[in-house]
Symmetry: C2
Amino acid sequence: MPTPEPEAPQVEVDTDDHAKGYQQPEVDVAEMRRLLDGRHHEVRDLVRSNLAEHAQVLLDQEQMSTADFRERVKDVVVMMAETGQTGMGFPEEYGGGGDIGASIAAFETLALGDLSVLVKVGVQFGLFGGAVLQLGTKAHHDAYLADLVSGRTMGCFAMTESGHGSNVQALGTVATYDVEAQEFVITTPDDASRKDYIGNAAAHAELAVVFAQLDVEGERHGVHAFVVRIREGGEVVDGVRIEDCGPKMGLNGVDNGRIWFDGLRVPRTALLNQFAEVTPEGRYLSPIDNPNKRFFTMLGTLVQGRVCVGGAGINASKVALAIATHYAVRRRQFEATDPEQEQVLLDYGMHQRRLLPLVARTYALHFAQEVVAAQLHDVFSGPGPIEEGSDEHARRMLESRAAGTKALGTWHATRTIQECREACGGAGYLSENRFAALKADTDVFTTFEGDNHVLLQLVAKGLLTDYAGEFEEMDQLGMARFVAGLAVDTVVERTAVHKLVQSVRDLLPGGDTWDQEAGLLDPRYQLAMLRFREEHMIGGVARRLKRGIDQKEDPGAVFSRVQDHVIAAARAHTERLVLEAFVAKAAELPDGDLKVALNLLCDLHALSTIEADRAWFMEHGRLSSTRSKAISREVNALCRKVRPLAVDLVDAFGVPEEMLRSPELLAWGE
Amino acid sequence: MPTPEPEAPQVEVDTDDHAKGYQQPEVDVAEMRRLLDGRHHEVRDLVRSNLAEHAQVLLDQEQMSTADFRERVKDVVVMMAETGQTGMGFPEEYGGGGDIGASIAAFETLALGDLSVLVKVGVQFGLFGGAVLQLGTKAHHDAYLADLVSGRTMGCFAMTESGHGSNVQALGTVATYDVEAQEFVITTPDDASRKDYIGNAAAHAELAVVFAQLDVEGERHGVHAFVVRIREGGEVVDGVRIEDCGPKMGLNGVDNGRIWFDGLRVPRTALLNQFAEVTPEGRYLSPIDNPNKRFFTMLGTLVQGRVCVGGAGINASKVALAIATHYAVRRRQFEATDPEQEQVLLDYGMHQRRLLPLVARTYALHFAQEVVAAQLHDVFSGPGPIEEGSDEHARRMLESRAAGTKALGTWHATRTIQECREACGGAGYLSENRFAALKADTDVFTTFEGDNHVLLQLVAKGLLTDYAGEFEEMDQLGMARFVAGLAVDTVVERTAVHKLVQSVRDLLPGGDTWDQEAGLLDPRYQLAMLRFREEHMIGGVARRLKRGIDQKEDPGAVFSRVQDHVIAAARAHTERLVLEAFVAKAAELPDGDLKVALNLLCDLHALSTIEADRAWFMEHGRLSSTRSKAISREVNALCRKVRPLAVDLVDAFGVPEEMLRSPELLAWGE
């Protein structure tokens, strides 16, 4: 931080707390930062120092032409690659770090800086590199990994088309096997099937992993991936046409493009053949018979991208909160208490309400992200690439958790950055104060790597089918159709309300009236509320779907009517996972100020989450109007307790000073 | 629209409606547009045709350097001024149109196009021109108005400082009267007092209206305005220093700058002397004795800016909704009902939920804006500038209404544009599809012309003091202090709950149980709910403030604790005004399809507003959990009824085709 903070004013402590012996904690910033940084603190610090070294890129983003800035971003990416930062997830024999968890940590931390750099890294090492690693076999690894890990060869990930984004199974690009030539012929049949928004395509990629419908001897086998050369010595090859997507809202350091294939011929070995093979004579072979299952297994190996984007959203939020919180303890406005001096913003109740629950939620999402990243690490750190035989249930849980965390983490970024910008007033509108780029660059996070609404439907599908394999194999239309199946009865049975209440009351003091008697600050109460909501919503969705189908209604119309309920259930599920992660993290700490501070944040997060949906809890008999109002009062009281810790709590995010820029915001108003 | 729409699918009509004889209406787009355009349809069409003529500016915004784009925007502004579009609010003798209502309508409509042009117009003709007109007298009018109306002389409005935005009374710039020289000496005492974010200052303004603390013979008289030359033939004059604010999140066609004054000498006649005068020999004279009252009277004359920004926010939302709605009836995603064809986005329940309540709310805010614009016209169309003797109560009501509508209209823009961008997926991220500029340019609307939270506090102050003059005269610290006053008792008495319920039940069927028995679609019920909420919240705030003061607590601390409640009360008040405007507009229509359609929208707006705050209504005994759930179901049902009308409803906004651009979004997916 540039200069020391003004002294925090005396906190208004409730008399009740004094009676209970509550002592306002102090936060040791370094200690809290170690807790947040966790297992991969070393790689996080490496990224922080790389960010600081290349901090000029934040200015370049404003000052350079798009063409120059794209080159600059590419150079920064290659320089970072040289430090090993971006290759953590690749095997050591190809120059990687052999540590998937470290790779996620590095990517998340990179989100504290310029986000074109982040996304370029994501495209090159996550999407392109990840596809070669996960979908390819040794020959592909030997041919490409070392050069892509070093950044010598740039590649792109050509999946999305103009006509199809989230519905990947419906892609239009076709790869037809020509037995004579032992080649695949890749074709874009119409403009809706051109590849679109492809990062790295407009300028830098030499190679592309292309997703296309595989056609062998007139038979369609679904979407498969091919590694294809699209540029040779910087020139686009024959049979490929590339167009620039033009200026975007943000991320203009990434060269997004559109690609058309006009009968491009590639060798048979271009097929990334981890899950399917075409023999020279044109026989299609796959260890996975069911085409839907094969497709989702392939896609499942790419789950890392979602984990990364969710983490990036959470970390971008930290930058916004660090700036807005520092501003809020410096900027004074109106003489509210002292006629001689205006009051600091963060001493206003409304300002606390605007920022502090977002700080708490950022902590919550950080720890939830830690869990999903650790699970990813475990699932993918088995011996070699994922085989069909590995634990499918664990993989499905991971995919669901990654989808939910991505949705919540990226929506949190959109909301937090917006609130922080507004909380910094006109100064927040100037580019040098970071919000312009933060806002514009993160905006698409809610869309790419899976539209958030579509992802939450994926989460709901898992919940309704209990992650059972046979239901996962349904195609996307299945979301409407499976409702006629047996699973619904199981879900309805499992989530019957009296069972829910019964299982909860065993855990909590108060017995049958647990929801009226438990202490608001008892984490068992908070978790019970979120668990009840989740189970009740899933049961409700299942019942509504079943009723519609039983009445012979059109499944699509039934689904459309229930869709907001489906999405609410998925959200409730993910919220529960987030709170569990936070509660568990706080519980494992030894007694002391750090634990007290984390518990304050956890309470603030839990109660503001319940408060935000208190209407639902009242509608479903779990919250009296009196208790509902008590929760709002408690959120206010918690904000007042967190207020004196606010600066330390955001400093513990460890955003490098160079990344904050904001000379005006951080220096004015004293 | 570029090409005809695909046929809307059959709407799912509830059987209940059939019983009631409900007939799905058809919307005559031209008729609905006439209704929306209202009294000032001619000037709206003039602006539309000017926008279409200069549509190239939307592309220039992406392609030009900042310096070039600033010049381009200035040129467009001057060309528009030539058509009379921008001078509607000035007296005819100076080349204006002499019609304030038309001036607001023109400005609002301009928000359908590039927003740098809009803001440049706002700065030149609204802020700078408005200050000369309202705060100056005939000599100033004769000297400046004709040239500023034509755009020959550019000016800026130098109010905000780095250290003080919303708290205008605390500005640091000083204007000291030098009796000897009969001049004012304007000085910037420190960097916190430099003028900041001043539009038109960095490049184009020759003149500035400067707000400064008036010092006469060592006595301070509060903030006054001076018209000051800051450039001569394009060069900054001696005694003035100007710095560019640099790149901003958006609105980069406007040249925002910072200004320092180093003992700049201006003649005595530079004081805009409508409300105060300094005689040559140094006597301070004002018809308004109380300095606070004088200050707020001066500021009150500038209310037009807030009315304009609110209207601009509402109209920018229309552009976003027009694009997203057209996309939603073209883009198909997943085979939800038909295995052979993917389903159109707007046939998904969730997508209807995302967009259609926003369409309804845009209609609601449009009609609310119509009311505040008409009131502004009436208040300001009296004989000559506002004198102290004119109807103060009406002016205070107008200021409050303008503040509330500005806050709701601009927050609506932020939210609507974001939702529409996300609803258009990755395509929404490309600059050519308009959301990039819409989002970046409108972002600061929630801040400029008064931060929304500060404005809502102003609204609350009016509610608590019942717009009584003596309370309006308190300074800003008053928000905390007046609570000790008599007014609270009056408010508490007026808003006693049993009185509220009593007054409501006389209006509605159901008597004592009106809130359980009235039909959800009865506008009297909907209004009663919003009125009840408003009154109850105001009473609650008054009681909480009074209790704190009675207990001798620090008024600032009491206020800080109650602040979110204060803001909620102001929001509830403005929501009630918005719904009243919509209900009144629908009621005055003759029977027919247009009325049926408008009533559908009005119901959708009213019930989604109640639904959004249903927790509050449950907490305060006005909504059972059963009825609360029924409201959510009804909102879904209304969405399904509005669905087939959606395209016509957004076409009726009359956004010129050239302003939609978005070739990809509007042509794909069929």
